[in-house]
C-alpha cells in the first residue's frame, strides 16, 4: 500500500515514506552566482544557475537530468555533491541532512558519492600513472590497506572496467578516449560509492565507444546497486540509461517522469520541442512532424518574467507571461510546470481557447 502511494507521490512534496526510501533527495535547491562588474567588483546581478530544484533518486536507480547548455544541469550535480555550496535548499543522503555539514563531517559522505566527468583527459592528472589515479581516493581516505593490498584492489578495478592490470603503470596520454573514461569510472568506483554523478560521461567519445561506456555503466549499476544522476544533453542517451528523467530549462525542472511517459506524452512544450528536435537515425524519420523552436535560450542573468520558457513557447498565453507555473503532478507520477494543465491535463498540447 505504501509502495503505491510512493509511486504517486510528487517529488516536490514527498511523504515521510518516500523520504526514507530515497538514497538522495534535494528540496528546493538553489545555486546563484554573483555577477561582479566595475572596479570594485560590485555585485551587478545574479546568475540563477539552479533555481529551486527538487528531486530524489531511489537506490539502484538512474535519474537522467537533461537540458541544453546553460540550463544548470551540471551546477545542480555539483551542488548536490557539495562541490559547490548551495545558496538555499536542502540535500539529504539516506535521510540525513548534509546541506550544512563542515568538511570533516562531510568526509564520510564523500566516500559514498562520487563523480565521473565529461572530458576524461582534462580530469585525469597527466603526470600520474593510471594505477595511481585510481588508487588516489583510497589513499586520501586512508582505506584499502597497505601499498600491496591497494595495488591488488586497483588491479581488480582495472579488470572490472575493461582495462588490463598491466596498464596500471601507463600514463593518461597512452590511453584512447574510451579507455580514459574507463580510468575515470574505476577511480569513481574505488571507494565503493552508492551514488555516482555522471556529468556528460559519453559526449566527448566516438559513437562506437559511447555504447561501450553506457553498457559498462549499466552493468556496474546492476552489479553494485549503484544510483546514478546522469547529466547529459543527448536525450536518446538519457532515455536509454535512466528510469526517470528530469528536463531542465533556465535553472528549473520543467518536467519529471519515467522515461516512457516522457517520450510518449510530454506534458511540457519545451520537452515536446526537445524531443522533436532530436534527429532520429532511421530512414523514415525525415517525414515526421517537427516542432522547431524560434530564438535562443534567454540569458540566465535576465530571465523572462513568469514562465521562463514563454518567449519561445508555441502555446504561451497571458498567464504564462506574468506567473511562473509550479512543478506539480499532472498525471500520476508525471510532474510538469506548465499553465496549459491548470484546469486538468491538456493533450495534445494546445493554447487555451
Amino acid at each position: 500500500m505504501s509502495a503505491l502511494r510512493d509511486v504517486a507521490a510528487p517529488e516536490a512534496r514527498p511523504g515521510p515514506a518516500a523520504a526514507a526510501e530515497a538514497l538522495v533527495e534535494v528540496r528546493d535547491l538553489k545555486k546563484h552566482f554573483p555577477v561582479r562588474r566595475g572596479l570594485f567588483g560590485g555585485v551587478a546581478g545574479h546568475v540563477h544557475a539552479v533555481d529551486g530544484v527538487s528531486f530524489r533518486i531511489a537506490p539502484g536507480q538512474t535519474l537522467g537530468l537533461v537540458g541544453e547548455s546553460g540550463c544548470g544541469k551540471s551546477t545542480a550535480g555539483r551542488t548536490l555533491l557539495r562541490l559547490l555550496e548551495p545558496t538555499a535548499g536542502e540535500i539529504r543522503f539516506r535521510g540525513e541532512d548534509i546541506t550544512r555539514l563542515d568538511a570533516a563531517a562531510m568526509l564520510p559522505y564523500r566516500r559514498r558519492m562520487q563523480m565521473v566527468h565529461q572530458d576524461p583527459y582534462a580530469s585525469l592528472n597527466p603526470r600520474m600513472p593510471a594505477g595511481e589515479i585510481v588508487a588516489e581516493p583510497l589513499v586520501i581516505h586512508g582505506v584499502g590497506g597497505g601499498r600491496a593490498e591497494r595495488r591488488e584492489r586497483v588491479a581488480q578495478l582495472f579488470e572490472r572496467v575493461g582495462l588490463r592490470p598491466e596498464q596500471m603503470d601507463a600514463y593518461p596520454h597512452e590511453f584512447s578516449g574510451g579507455q580514459r573514461q574507463r580510468i575515470g569510472i574505476a577511480r569513481a568506483l574505488a571507494l565503493g560509492p552508492e551514488l555516482i554523478v555522471c556529468d556528460e560521461p559519453v559526449s566527448a567519445l566516438d559513437v562506437s565507444i559511447q555504447a561501450q561506456i553506457l553498457n559498462l555503466l549499466m552493468d556496474l549499476q546492476d552489479e553494485y546497486g549503484l544510483s546514478y544522476l546522469f547529466i547529459a544533453h543527448d536525450l536518446a542517451v538519457v532515455e536509454h540509461i535512466s528510469q526517470r528523467v528530469a528536463v531542465m530549462y533556465l535553472g528549473r525542472i520543467v518536467e519529471l517522469t519515467d522515461r516512457a511517459s516522457l517520450f510518449e506524452t510530454p506534458l511540457h512544450p519545451y520537452t515536446e520541442a526537445l524531443l522533436s528536435a532530436v534527429p532520429i537515425p532511421k530512414a523514415t524519420a525525415r517525414r515526421r512532424r517537427r516542432v522547431i523552436l524560434a530564438g535562443d535560450v534567454p540569458s540566465p542573468i535576465s530571465r523572462p518574467a513568469g514562465c521562463h520558457f514563454h518567449t519561445r513557447c508555441l502555446y504561451a498565453h497571458a498567464r504564462c507571461r506574468s506567473e511562473a507555473p509550479a512543478l506539480r503532478e499532472v498525471l500520476p507520477g508525471h510532474l510538469a510546470a506548465c499553465h496549459l494543465h491548470d484546469a486538468g491535463v491538456t493533450l495534445p498540447l494546445a493554447r487555451p481557447a
Binding site: E68, G178, V207, A211, E239, I280, K282, A283, R290, D296
Partner: protein, 357 residues
Amino acid sequence: MNQTASSDLPDGPGPGSPAPGVVLEIEGLRTEFRTPAGIVRAVDGLSCVVRRGETLCVVGESGCGKSVTALSILRLVPSPPGRIAGGRILFEGRDLLALGEAEMERVRGNAISMIFQEPMTSLNPLQPVGRQIAEAIALHQGLARRDAMAKAVGMLRRVAIPDAERSAAAYPHQLSGGMRQRVMIAMALSCNPKVLIADEPTTALDVTIQAQILELIREQQERLGMAVILITHDMGVVAENADRVVVMYAGRKVEEGGVEDLFERPAHPYTRGLLGSIPHLDDAARAGAGARRARLAEIKGSVPSLARLPPGCSFAPRCALAEARCREAAPPIVRHGPGHRVACWNAGHAAPGAAAA
C-alpha cells in the same frame, strides 16, 4: 590497391565528360600528413560524386578522414605537414587540383563555400559581422562597398537574423553560437555557391538550435539548387538530411548508398555496428516504463591509429565477421545493389548477435 575511379562511379561515362547533374567528382583522392610516426594517409583513395541539388552526407568517427576530405576539396589542407598526394577533384569538369592559387581563390567561397563546426574560430573577432560578409561579396562579385554592405544585410535577413541592420554592426562575440553559425551561412551563401560544404555545422550547438540551422540549410538549398556535402558523426542528422551517404573508416570509403539503403539495408559490418550502437529515442516508449533496459550493441576495441593501420581491411580487428582473408587483403569497393557500394569481403552477411541493427 586503390579502386579505379571508373569502377566506382555509379553510372558515369568517363573522366572529362561529367555525368548529367554531377557538379563535383572526386577521383582516387589521397591526402597525406607527415607525422613523427611517419607518413599517415588521412584520405586513402576516396572517390565519389556530388549531384546538383542533392545532400551527400559523409559520416564516420574521429580520424576517419571526413574533415580532411572537405579541406582537400577546397585545397585548404595545411601544408606542411599535409599534402594532397594523388587523385583528381573535378568541379564542373575542371580539375581543382590543377588550378593555380589565384584561380583557386576565385572558386573558394564563391562557387564552392564551406562552413565549419565552430563559427567563432572562422570569424574575425575584430570586425563587425556585416563587414566580413560584405568583404566576401565585394571580393567575388566586384560590388562597391555600399552595395556589398546592403547585400550583406539582405543575407543576414535571409538567414533569419533578427534586426539585421543592427546585427550587421555586431562583433562575433556579441552573438550566440546559433547566431554566429547563421552569420557563417549568410557569408557562405552570399555568392550563390553551387556546392556548400558543411563540416559538423551543428555539433557545437544545442539540439533546438541544431534543428533551426539544419532547416535553414535545407531551405537555402532548395532556393539555390546547390549541392550540400554535410559532414557529420551523427547518424540522426544523416537520416534526416541525406539523399546519399558515404561512410568512411580509417581514411577509406567503406560503404556508399541512398539513405534508405544505408539505414534499412546496411551492408558493411561497420555501418551496421554504428547503427546498432546508438540508442534510439523511440525505443524507450516501445519498451514501456517497467521494462529492463536493453544493452547496446558494441563495436569492440577503438578506432585504429592511422599511423599503425593493420594489414588488410582496417576494420578487421574490430569486426565480428573477420576471417583470414580480411587480415590479408583490403576488400575493393564493389556494387552491392543499385547505387549501393560496399567494401567488405562478407558484405551483407549477418554478424553473429548483431541482428538488432
